[in-house]
Every structure is written in structure tokens, then in C-alpha cells.
């Protein structure tokens, strides 16, 4: 179910983390589960890349600005699931004191609805605007120049780039350039 998903568990308790990772590996075939016992390490790595965030309520509250915009991807690891106004914004919570079968059932229902959501909004095809941005990236233009050429804001260029990377699974400028060549979006010149 979670074969291609990147999952992260962020909690200060290594034993919870190990147990949860085991459940994700065993019952949901999760292959990429990162674990952070220290929230600073998490933020100093690549915090935006994950499909699902398992996070304890205290970390969630401390870093509300980061987690709230990603709330559809957050599963809260709560000791008392009814506490806290801000936490009530999060739809999915797991009571860490629940028994294993209950936790597996809760996870199953979360992942089923999350995968359904993502299959509805996932299209590998780029929009016409994203293709224009990709063509300019491949021609070596930087974000500001792309914004000027397409008459859009710098932030809009960043959003397009982020969406392109998410759809294609390609992050670097040269990777995107080669993708553009492979798909005929820019002229191939192998002698350059």
C-alpha cells in the first residue's frame, strides 16, 4: 500500500518510533520510513519531501506553522487525543496507548482515504503553464527571468517548479532539462 510513499516519524521516544516503524513495514509494506528523535535534525534535513508525517502532539504544537499546511498528511501521535484546540484541526490521530490491532485498523482507514485522495489529484501530465516553465528551466533561465518572461510573480514560478518536481520526481535543473529533451519540449543538441 505504501510502497512508493516517503514516511517520517518524529517523536522524542526511540521505542515508540521503532515500534511504529515495525508496524508500517510489516503491515503496510512501507519501504521508506525515516525516523527522527530530534526535531532539529528533522528540520535540518529535507522536511518537505514526505507523503506522511507521524508526529507527537508536543512537536506538532511547537511547529504548528510547518505542520498545519500539511494537515492532510499528518497523523498525530497523541497520549490524550481530546486535548488541545489546535490539535482538533487534525483529522487523524492515533492513541499511542491503544492496542496493536486498534492502531493497525486506524492506520488502514487513514491510508485508504489518503491514497484515494491522492489518486484523484495525481496527474503526471504537466499543465501548459508548467510546460512553459519547464522549457525555460531547460534553456537555462533562472526563476526571476522566468517570472519576467511569463509575466508572473517570482512566487508563482516557485510554485510551478515545486509542482513540476512533485509530478515528475525530478529535482535538479539538469535532470529537468533531460526530461524536457526526452519529451520533445526542447530541442536536442547532444553536441553541446
Amino acid at each position: 500500500m505504501l510502497r512508493n510513499k516517503q514516511i517520517v516519524i518524529i517523536s522524542a521516544c526511540p521505542l515508540y518510533n521503532t515500534g511504529l516503524r515495525h508496524v508500517l513495514n510489516e503491515y503496510f509494506s512501507a519501504q521508506k520510513v525515516d525516523v527522527y528523535n530530534d526535531i532539529d535534525y528533522f528540520f535540518n534535513s529535507f522536511p518537505e519531501i514526505y507523503d506522511f508525517y507521524f508526529v507527537t502532539s508536543d512537536f506538532f504544537l511547537c511547529y504548528y506553522d510547518f505542520f498545519l499546511p500539511r494537515k492532510s498528511k499528518v497523523i498525530l501521535l497523541a497520549k490524550d487525543i481530546f486535548k488541545g484546540q489546535s490539535i482538533s484541526n487534525i483529522e487523524f490521530k492515533i492513541n499511542i496507548f491503544a492496542d496493536t490491532n486498534e492502531i493497525i485498523e486506524q492506520l488502514q482507514s487513514f491510508f485508504e482515504s489518503a491514497c484515494l485522495r491522492s489518486s484523484n489529484d495525481y496527474h503526471i501530465n504537466l499543465t501548459p503553464r508548467e510546460i512553459e516553465v519547464l522549457q525555460l528551466i531547460a534553456q537555462g533561465f533562472i526563476n526571476k527571468e522566468i517570472a519576467d518572461r511569463l509575466n508572473i510573480s517570482f512566487n508563482t514560478v516557485l510554485t510551478h517548479r515545486k509542482n513540476i518536481t512533485a509530478k515528475l520526481g525530478i529535482k535538479t535543473v539538469s535532470g529537468l532539462s533531460f526530461y524536457a529533451m526526452m519529451n520533445g519540449y526542447v530541442k536536442i543538441d547532444m553536441n553541446e
Binding site: N44, G169, I170
Partner: protein
């Protein structure tokens, strides 16, 4: 995989995790180890068993990274290991991908432009990696060794958090893009078996580089900065 220990036969470890073969090779141990334990083989090859085991364990367990233990080894030992790792990429792993790539393109029944484009991307990545290796060998590693020989005072224990604000590693990012170009976007006809060979070789290099980067970024870079400041305060 579970952690491995000094008393375990190395053959048993390798049978469970064959990706360790290039790692043991760069320590000078080759296949055909019979039922000898890790400790015996380390003694025979004049290796520090603790260091060897730590490297094996961090390699086979992505989430296992014993910083305290790694920091306790001498800087030269870490530099030598990374240096051997670099040489391994240069002499074996990169040429291996290149060789398989060449065969894949040659043996494809029809000309596949996409494969040739992906190979161009691989060449770009290869040059970047070789540049980094050259820089390590001729500039950074010798500098660290010099600093380490000159600084006689005890290096204070350091917190790694302040050193973790590195930019994403461009080589790891490109390797990831290379995999995506194959797995998500490859079109046209090609030899399935040879294609698997290329992808497997890329995955193997990527795993190795990730491990190498963890040691570079989380151990060697902080040590280097501390050695530099220790030299100024001497």
C-alpha cells in the same frame, strides 16, 4: 537487518546482505572467507575491528548512526576509509554503470534516443562525482590530515546540530533524478535484462554515496571545522 558483531562469521553477514561486498573489498577483504569471524579476519588484515564493524552496521542499517562511536575514531582513519570509498567509485562502480549502459544502448534492437539522453545525464553526474573525488584527494583530505597532525590538544565534544544545515547534496539529488528518468519516464524499446543491470548498479552506487555522505557531513565536516578552530587557538 540486525546489527552484526565481532564473533559472527563474515560469510553469514554477506549472505544476508550482499551489498556489503564492495564495502569489505575496500578494506582489503575478498570473498572466500570460509567460516572466519569478523574479528579473525580483521586481525589477519590488520584492521581495527571496532571501526570495521561500525562501518558495516551503519551501511546495513539506514537508521543506525552511532555518532559518538564514529567521533571516537581518529580522523586519519575516517579520511582513509572515505578515500578508499572514493577510489572504489572511481575504479569500479562508475565504470560498472558505464559498461552496462554501453551494452544496454548497443544491444537495443532499435535506436532509443531516450536511453542516450539518460546516458548523457549520467555522464554529467559522473563528471561531478569525479570532480568531487579529485578535490577530496588533492585538497580536502590532505588538509584535514595536516591539521590533525598539527593539533595536539584534545578536540572538544561537539554538538552536531549546528553542522547539519548543509545544502542538499547535488550528487545524491542527481542520482535520484537518474532513477526517476529510468523508472518513471523511460519509453521505447530496450533490453529489459540489461536495463535492470544498469538500474541495479545505480541503486548500489546511490546507497553507497548516501552512506559516504552521512560520514562526510555528520562526522568529517564538523571535525574539520573543529580542527581549524583548534589550530587558530593554538
Amino acid at each position: 537487518m540486525s546489527l552484526v558483531y565481532a564473533e559472527m562469521p563474515l560469510s553469514e553477514i554477506i549472505l544476508n546482505e550482499p551489498l556489503l561486498i564492495p564495502v569489505i573489498n575496500r578494506f582489503g577483504i575478498i570473498l572466500g572467507t570460509k567460516d572466519k569471524s569478523v574479528q579473525t579476519l580483521c586481525q589477519e588484515n590488520n584492521l581495527d575491528t571496532d571501526f570495521f564493524l561500525t562501518i558495516l552496521n551503519t551501511f546495513i542499517n539506514d537508521s543506525f548512526f552511532p555518532e559518538k562511536r564514529l567521533k571516537s575514531f581518529c580522523v586519519t582513519q575516517i579520511v582513509d576509509y572515505l578515500s578508499q570509498t572514493n577510489q572504489y567509485y572511481k575504479r569500479y562502480q562508475i565504470p560498472n554503470i558505464e559498461k552496462h549502459f554501453g551494452l544496454l544502448i548497443e544491444k537495443s534492437p532499435y535506436k532509443n534516443n531516450n536511453l542516450e539522453l539518460i546516458r548523457e545525464f549520467f555522464f554529467e553526474l559522473k563528471h561531478e562525482l569525479l570532480r568531487r573525488i579529485e578535490d577530496d584527494q588533492h585538497s580536502w583530505f590532505p588538509k584535514i590530515k595536516r591539521l590533525s597532525a598539527n593539533v595536539h590538544s584534545q578536540i572538544p565534544d561537539f554538538s552536531l546540530t549546528s553542522f547539519l544545515k548543509d545544502d542538499p547534496d547535488p550528487i545524491e539529488e542527481k542520482l535520484n533524478d537518474l532513477k526517476s528518468l529510468f523508472v518513471l519516464h523511460l519509453t521505447g524499446k530496450y533490453d529489459l535484462n540489461l536495463c535492470y543491470g544498469v538500474i541495479f548498479a545505480i541503486f548500489s552506487l546511490e546507497k553507497d554515496i548516501k552512506q559516504n555522505n552521512r560520514i562526510r557531513n555528520r562526522i568529517l565536516k564538523p571535525l574539520y571545522h573543529l580542527l581549524q578552530s583548534a589550530q587558530f587557538s593554538n
